[in-house]
């Protein structure tokens, strides 16, 4: 039994414009101690998925279908108090924007120790000691002195560390990190990612890392799910995805990564934008932007299938699955792109990739 099992999760928001389906029959699992990445453009439904796991979707949003099982228990059928006993305790979240996540009228130390007192029944003094220790663990200098500081007295990077410390305060089994480094500069980003990775190893915590940065996924994760318009379009172990992407969207994302020393005048992009989730295109949601789209793509929505056998995804974590009609035999012309790996043997995991061609 996996630590987290999500089956056919559907989350909808009812707006005046219509129904926004932010997550559409999403299924995935996260094993204990695993680092699982979720990647996609803004608006792909990554954050909504994360919030659903914690049952934090608010009106006008609603989880309309599916199951979320954490340690075998269905989160969606739990009472609010049962969910509160898990949230922040066994399952914790690092929110996107630390400044917004922290309460400006409480000291940072209080915000960390509150979780410890509430979930672990620590006394005031013990909770303070624990909070100071955590602040030290996440690299906040002079934690004892800074315990009584307010969030505005911290820099963005330090605030993010406080949020991480809060999330780790009760030794969660699953840490959901929702773009933890988006608001930070690259040097702080590298430090924060190292920190999450080290702490996850140290506390044996499973991490679900949500980001739009493929580089971050490559560095941290074991497995990855690529999302587009609320649906998973590719799931694979991280090496398979990087060395052998199977979905045109993944290929497009990879092609758009700028590389040092590149001779191109312009950065490569995926033409167009993410569709409006109120009004998804018929067939494959990606077809209006896909360079390989054929007539069939406008009429049929591709299921998530094993790229070799064309069989439906069976939940095997090592399976490489993609949602493209190429793998169900419905494309006439097929996909035509080339992946060039420049460096060592992919199996060593030390290679750097360069020069992917996206297009015929």
């Amino acid at each position: 039994m996996a630590l987290l099992e999500v089956d056919d999760l559907t989350v909808q928001f009812y707006t005046e414009d219509g129904v926004v389906t932010a997550a559409d029959e999403l299924s995935f699992t996260v094993e204990s101690g695993e680092k699982f990445g979720v990647v996609g453009e803004s608006g792909a439904g990554k954050s909504v998925t994360a919030l659903s796991l914690m049952r934090l979707i608010e009106e006008p949003g609603r989880i309309t279908d599916g199951e979320i099982r954490f340690k075998g228990e269905d989160i969606l059928s739990m009472s609010e108090s049962e969910v509160r006993s898990i949230r922040g305790n066994e399952m914790a979240m690092i929110f996107q924007d630390a400044q917004t996540a922290l309460n400006p009228v409480y000291t940072v130390g209080e915000q960390i120790s509150e979780a410890v007192r509430h979930h672990l029944d620590y006394s005031e003094a013990d909770a303070r000691d624990r909070a100071v220790q955590l602040m030290d663990d996440v690299g906040i200098p002079e934690p004892d002195a800074r315990y009584d500081d307010y969030p505005h007295q911290f820099s963005g990077g330090m605030q993010q560390r406080v949020v991480i410390a809060t999330a780790l305060s009760c030794d969660p089994d699953l840490l959901i990190a929702d773009e933890p480094t988006t608001a930070l500069d690259v040097t702080i980003e590298a430090k924060i990612l190292d920190l999450i990775e080290n702490l996850a190893d140290e506390y044996d915590t499973a991490v679900q890392l949500i980001t739009h940065d493929l580089g971050v996924i490559a560095e941290v994760c074991d497995r990855v799910m690529v999302m587009y318009a609320g649906k998973p379009v590719e799931k694979a172990p991280v090496d398979d995805l990087y060395y052998d992407p199977k979905h045109p969207y993944t290929v497009g994302l990879m092609s758009s990564i700028p590389r040092v020393g590149e001779q191109r005048d312009r950065l490569q992009t995926i033409p167009g934008t993410m569709p409006d989730l109120v009004e998804l295109p018929s067939g494959c949601s990606f077809h209006p932007r896909c360079p390989f789209a054929e007539d069939a793509c406008t009429r049929k929505e591709p299921p998530l299938v094993d790229h070799e056998t064309g069989q439906a995804a069976d939940g095997d974590t090592d399976q490489h699955v993609a949602a493209c009609l190429e793998y169900t035999g419905d494309l006439v012309e097929g996909l035509d792109y080339q992946v060039d790996v420049d460096g060592a043997d992919p199996n060593t995991g030390s290679a750097t990739e360069r020069g992917r061609d996206h297009g015929a």
């Binding site: 009812y14 309309t64 400006p104 009228v105 000291t107 018929s282 067939g283 406008t298 009429r299 929505e301």
Partner: protein, 180 residues
Amino acid sequence: MRRIYESDALYRDDDEPGAPRERQREERPQSFRSVPSGSLSRWLVPDRVRRWGLSLEVVTPRTEFRVGEHVPFQVTIKNSLPFPVTVATRSPLLWTWHVDDHRAASKLSADGPPEEERGFRFERGERKRFRKRWDGMFKIADAEWERATTGEYTIGAGLNVEGAADRGLYSETTVTLRPE
């Protein structure tokens, strides 16, 4: 626990320009809303009057399109009453659209949002505009669509209330799809 107003983080001075003033303990609201007009209209205005004040119109930029071309349309819902109204809908959707009686161009049995009442507010004289496109396809199965053939199609939109058509809260327009 120390609160932020007990900290020395903020320097206050009544005399120095630019610095926040000392805290005033005397609570005096700086402004009043004249009346809670939304609630009042909900309590005082009968449903019939509220619906009578609303109108809905659907328009397309032209009446002929090629097969495969997207058909854009605009739905305008207007409150012509001089006060705000809240209209109760059958589900959390304010309005629905149809192509030849197929809701959202889907030939599947309606699998819409839950049937629970929801209120949508219109300010006085407010006009809400929604832009949509019909991509010329009909959904025929969970993951399958078929292209509409040449011919005439009726695009309709209605407020999501009981008997919308009878109450004048439904409008439709006809478009012709020509060969590519």
